[in-house]
């Protein structure tokens, strides 16, 4: 137990020493509230990896601000990740969604605020949280165990957030991520669904 605590402490302290956002090769642990339809509550946990970055300096429009603050500094990053979301739609199902994502974001290197977009592909397995019956060959009701349905879930999301390590030493960022998901197949067709994520990312550094 002591070793575990020590390891966690080290994991936390090392990135804090950098006082910088993630860079290529860095890993981050993401934990989010995952609300299917916004309100069906769940949890999403995963790792993301910074793949590429480029820093750009832009001259400010107003000379006074340029002199006082220096140029605008924006960091552009590409990242990828793998995660697992679990949520509950009461009186309907519990959903388990392993998911791969790639994304892009732009970080304001003065404030730490960022926005971006993400594409994902996952496979959602729904486990009904009420019983499922079917008629047996003799007409008797058979209870189906672990009943549910599976479907592929391509997704697109916007994200906004703030990287607290830009201004301080805390290796954490928070984000809000509305996501549009396609459920394929669903009944006789493909349909869209929506999820809202509110989460934090904890920078683990290079592993």
């Amino acid at each position: 137990m002591k070793k575990l605590l020590l390891s966690l402490l080290c994991l936390g302290l090392l990135p804090a020493l950098y006082g910088q956002p993630t860079h290529p090769g860095d890993w981050a642990l993401n934990v989010s509230y995952f609300g299917e339809t916004g309100i069906h509550p769940g949890l999403k946990v995963g790792l993301s990896h910074t793949l590429w970055e480029k820093e750009k300096h832009h001259k400010r429009w107003f000379k006074g601000r340029q002199n006082r603050l220096g140029p605008k500094v924006k960091m552009y990053q590409l990242f990828g990740g793998a995660n697992l979301a679990v949520y509950s739609h009461p009186n309907n199902h519990t959903g388990v969604l392993p998911n791969l994502e790639v994304g892009w974001k732009r970080i304001n290197m003065r404030r730490g605020s960022f926005f971006g977009a993400q594409l994902g592909i996952g496979y959602l397995r729904r486990f009904y949280n009420v019983a499922t019956y079917e008629l047996g060959e003799g007409g008797e009701p058979d209870k189906v165990s672990a009943a549910g349905r599976g479907m592929f879930v391509p997704s697109f999301a916007f994200l906004w957030g703030k990287d607290l390590s830009v201004k301080g030493k805390t290796p954490i960022s928070w984000h809000i991520k509305p996501t549009v998901m396609m459920l394929a197949p669903y009944n006789h067709t493909n349909v869209f669904s929506f999820a809202l994520e509110l989460g934090v990312s904890y920078r683990l550094g290079k592993k």
Binding site: H40, P41, P90, R126, L135, N187, H188, T189, F192, L198
Partner: protein, 344 residues
């Protein structure tokens, strides 16, 4: 860590607790019925000890059984009997995986028949089972009576403003628009709206009504109902779940329901079962709003004269339109209870 708990974990826990809320009655049960690629969402609510079950087939297409589990009529019926609210294939909380080509009236009928069998297997062969179809539920319900063996499973059929003959209901709606519209215009009531409706009705060739005109008849039908003072206000209801516990909330369900409606509408629009109603032999109750422009009471009058049932009755509600269960719930419940008690 404190702030993480305060801002993230605590709200998440509260959300989880709130979302788990469901009706506290031990008279409530939900399950899925898996059949022919679909998992049909079913909720049973009410007095199961009565051994009387009323399987309600919702309207639409594109509706859901959940929408009917609200209001004082539902509360009153659930106190006496077990109400079974089915979400028909592709609609409400029903899910699954099947080909669009299977969305036919025959498949909807097979689903109803299968569920009737399941209910008797699950709750006992000694239960009394009644089938109740409202609006488009009258289309699928009547189709099931005529094209499956469901009559062998049920004690009676209750059709509420049911659309068992769409071509006929379009013709009858045009007649009502013209007649009641003229009366309202002469009284000076909502003249601008009635004039448009009457003008539309006068322009329709009732020997050749197109699908587009059928859609407009439906829209004008609901609007006309809202223009009449003779119709009671619909009563408020007590939803069976809070918003967090609703079984079918979500964009996916809305899109699927709408797509299902589009897929089944062409077959529904030409469904004319009046000439086959003589094949219905189970006790039958027809409940109609006097001012139902969507499915005219003439269909109820025709149906009660044609079915071969020994016990058959037509009840017209003088202050109702398309949904008498909402506008005259006490009279509606009294009619249903009288019929069920006679035939259970």
């Amino acid at each position: 860590m404190k702030s993480t708990f305060k801002y993230i974990l605590l709200p998440s826990i509260l959300f989880l607790l709130a979302a788990c809320s469901r009706p506290t009655m031990d008279t409530y049960e939900r399950f899925f019925f898996r059949t022919d690629g679909a998992d049909l969402a079913v909720q049973v609510d009410g007095n199961r000890d009565s051994k009387v079950f009323i399987l309600l087939i919702h309207g639409g297409p594109g509706g859901s059984g959940y929408e009917y589990n609200t209001g004082s009529y539902a509360d009153q019926l659930e106190e006496k009997y077990a109400m079974v609210y089915l979400d028909q294939r592709g609609q409400g909380a029903s899910q699954g995986k099947y080909d669009a080509s299977t969305l036919t009236l025959q498949q909807f009928s097979d689903d109803i028949y299968g569920l009737a069998q399941l209910l008797k297997q699950k709750y006992g062969q000694d239960i009394s089972l009644f089938l109740m179809g409202h609006s488009w539920g009258g289309t699928t319900g009547t189709h099931a009576l005529l094209n499956t063996q469901v009559q062998d499973e049920i004690n009676g059929w209750i059709e509420v403003d049911g659309a068992h003959d769409i071509p006929l209901l379009n013709i009858e709606a045009i007649k009502m628009f013209r007649q009641i519209g003229a009366e309202e215009l002469s009284k000076g009531n909502n003249t601008d709206r009635w004039q448009e409706i009457v003008d539309f009705a006068n322009g329709v060739d009732t020997t050749n009504i197109s699908e587009d005109e059928g859609g407009r008849i439906n829209s004008y039908g609901f609007e006309a109902e809202g223009l009449l003072e003779a119709i009671n206000e619909g009563g408020g209801g007590n939803p069976s779940h809070g918003i967090l516990g609703r079984p079918h909330l979500g964009l996916a369900h809305i899109i699927s329901s709408s797509s299902t409606a589009n897929a089944i509408t062409p077959e529904t629009e030409v469904a004319a079962m009046t000439s086959e109603l003589h094949k219905i032999t189970v006790p039958s109750l027809f409940l109609w709003g006097k001012y139902d422009f969507v499915v005219a009471p003439a269909l109820g009058v025709s149906a009660v004269s044609r079915v071969a049932s020994q016990d058959k009755e037509l009840v017209i509600f003088d202050h109702s339109g398309h949904s008498p269960m909402d506008t005259e719930p006490e009279a509606f419940v009294a009619a249903v209870v009288g019929f069920v008690e006679r035939n259970k």
